[in-house]
C-alpha cells in the first residue's frame, strides 16, 4: 500500500493521526502517512504491536482474528490484517474518541479493493 493510498485513506478519517502498512513477517514498514512527522520508532512500534497481536494465532474455536481495535484514555489504535496477504496489516493511530466503525469500514475497503499493491 503506497503512501499516497494511505494519505487518501487518512483524508477520509478525520480522527486518524497516523496510518502505517506493515509486513509482519519481516517487521518492515511498507508505507506510512501521518498528521505529524513521526520518527521511525513510532512507525515501528505500531507495526510491532500488529505483529505481536496477529503472528502465529491466536484463534477462538479455530477462527483467526482479522482485526483488533484498542482504546485507551489518550488514544485509539486499530490493526487490520490484509485479507489478501495475511502477513501484512494496516495500522492506525487515532484520537481517543475516533469513529472506529468508520475506520473499520474505510480500512477494509482499502484492503479489499486491491489497493494493497506496493
Amino acid at each position: 500500500m503506497t503512501p499516497e493510498t494511505l494519505a487518501d485513506l487518512r483524508s477520509r478519517l478525520p480522527d486518524c493521526e497516523l496510518a502505517v502498512y506493515v509486513d509482519m513477517r519481516s517487521g518492515t514498514v511498507l508505507g506510512a502517512d501521518g498528521a505529524l512527522r513521526y520518527p521511525q520508532e513510532y512507525l515501528d512500534a505500531l507495526g510491532n504491536a500488529a505483529t505481536r497481536l496477529f503472528a502465529g494465532g491466536p484463534t477462538l474455536d479455530g477462527a483467526e482474528i482479522g482485526h483488533a481495535l484498542f482504546r485507551g484514555p489518550t488514544g485509539s489504535r486499530a490493526f487490520l490484517r490484509s485479507p489478501a496477504e495475511a502477513a501484512e496489516a494496516l495500522c492506525f493511530l487515532c484520537a481517543p474518541d475516533a469513529d472506529m466503525a468508520r475506520l473499520l469500514r474505510e480500512g477494509r475497503a482499502a484492503l479489499g479493493e486491491g489497493k494493497a499493491d506496493r
Binding site: 474455536d61 482474528i65 482485526h67 482504546r71 485507551g72 466503525a101
Partner: protein, 268 residues
C-alpha cells in the same frame, strides 16, 4: 481534531508511557497520609521505584509493582524503629509492622510529594489492600460512594449480547456467563492474548493494564467478537454476539471518568 489537539494527545500519550508526573498529596491526619501512599501503590502495576517525600524533610523510598509494596529502600524516615522492614522483600507477616511504620512516617507531616520512575522487574511484596485492611482503610478496589467500576459498567452494558465471560483478578477467576466448554475456549484465547499484551515489550502494555480495552474481530460468518478490558490490573474477558465490535468499544467509552480521573484510597 485540530493539529494542536493532536500534539496535545501525542504529548499526553508520551507522558503516560514515560515517568509519571510528580504529585503532591495533602492530609490532615497520619492515616489519611497513609491512604494517599497506598493509593499510589494500588495504582502501580508495572515496576516502579516510588519516593514519598514528606514536608517534614523525611523521605521513604520503596519499590512497587502489581499493586504491591515489594521492598522498602534504606535509609527510610528518621526514627524508623523497625529496620528489619528495609532492604528485603516484604512478607505477609510484616504487614502490621509496615502499617505502623507508615503511620509513624506520616505523623507530624501535612503533605507528601510522590515521585516515581521505572525500575527492573520485581516479584513478591505485600498488597496495598492488605496494609489498608490493618489500618481499617477500605481497599483501593472498592470505589468511593457514587463512583463506579468500569469493568462492571462494561459487563452490564454488553450483558444482553454476552455469550461467555469471566473476570480475572491476579489468579482469581470469576465466571460471569457461559458453560464449561465456552469458558474453556475463551480462557485459552485470553491466556494467549494476555501473554502477548502484558509483556513489557508490547507497546501498549502499560495502558492496557491500567485503563484500556481491546476488541478482536472474527470472520463475519462467525458472528461474534471478543473483548478484553483492563483496569488497574483486573480484566474482563467476554465473547459478544455480533461481528461488529464497535458498539462494545462505544460502551467502554461511555463511562464517566474516561479521561483517567484520579484513583482514591478512602481513609474513613
Amino acid at each position: 481534531m485540530s493539529g494542536l489537539d493532536r500534539v496535545r494527545a501525542a504529548l499526553g500519550q508520551a507522558a503516560r508511557d514515560g515517568v509519571a508526573a510528580d504529585a503532591v498529596r495533602s492530609f490532615d491526619r497520619p492515616e489519611a497520609g497513609v491512604a494517599a501512599m497506598l493509593a499510589t501503590i494500588d495504582a502501580t502495576i508495572l515496576p516502579r521505584q516510588v519516593t514519598f517525600a514528606f514536608d517534614t524533610g523525611d523521605q521513604l523510598d520503596c519499590v512497587a509493582a502489581n499493586r504491591r509494596i515489594v521492598r522498602l529502600l534504606p535509609p527510610g524516615p528518621q526514627g524508623s524503629a523497625n529496620r528489619t522492614l528495609f532492604d528485603t522483600v516484604l512478607q505477609p507477616e510484616q504487614v502490621p509492622a509496615l502499617a505502623e511504620m507508615l503511620v509513624a512516617a506520616c505523623t507530624g507531616s501535612t503533605s507528601l510529594r510522590v515521585e516515581t520512575r521505572r525500575c527492573d522487574p520485581v516479584e513478591g511484596g505485600v498488597s496495598a489492600a492488605a496494609v489498608g485492611t490493618v489500618l481499617g482503610l477500605r481497599s483501593g478496589t472498592a470505589q468511593p460512594d457514587g463512583a463506579f467500576d468500569p469493568l462492571d459498567m462494561l459487563a452490564e452494558a454488553i450483558s444482553p449480547s454476552m455469550l461467555s465471560a469471566f473476570r480475572l483478578l491476579d489468579e482469581d477467576v470469576e465466571i460471569l456467563r457461559g458453560g464449561e466448554a465456552d469458558v474453556t475456549a475463551l480462557t485459552e484465547f485470553a491466556g494467549d492474548i494476555l501473554e502477548r499484551m502484558l509483556d513489557p515489550s508490547f507497546p501498549l502494555s502499560a495502558t492496557f493494564e491500567t485503563d484500556g480495552v481491546v476488541t478482536f474481530g472474527l470472520p463475519e460468518e462467525v458472528g461474534r467478537h471478543v473483548v478484553i478490558a483492563g483496569h488497574l490490573g483486573r480484566y474482563l474477558v467476554a465473547v459478544v454476539a455480533g461481528a461488529d465490535p464497535t458498539p462494545t468499544l462505544a460502551a467502554w467509552g461511555a463511562r464517566p471518568g474516561v479521561d483517567g480521573s484520579s484513583h482514591q484510597f478512602p481513609s474513613d
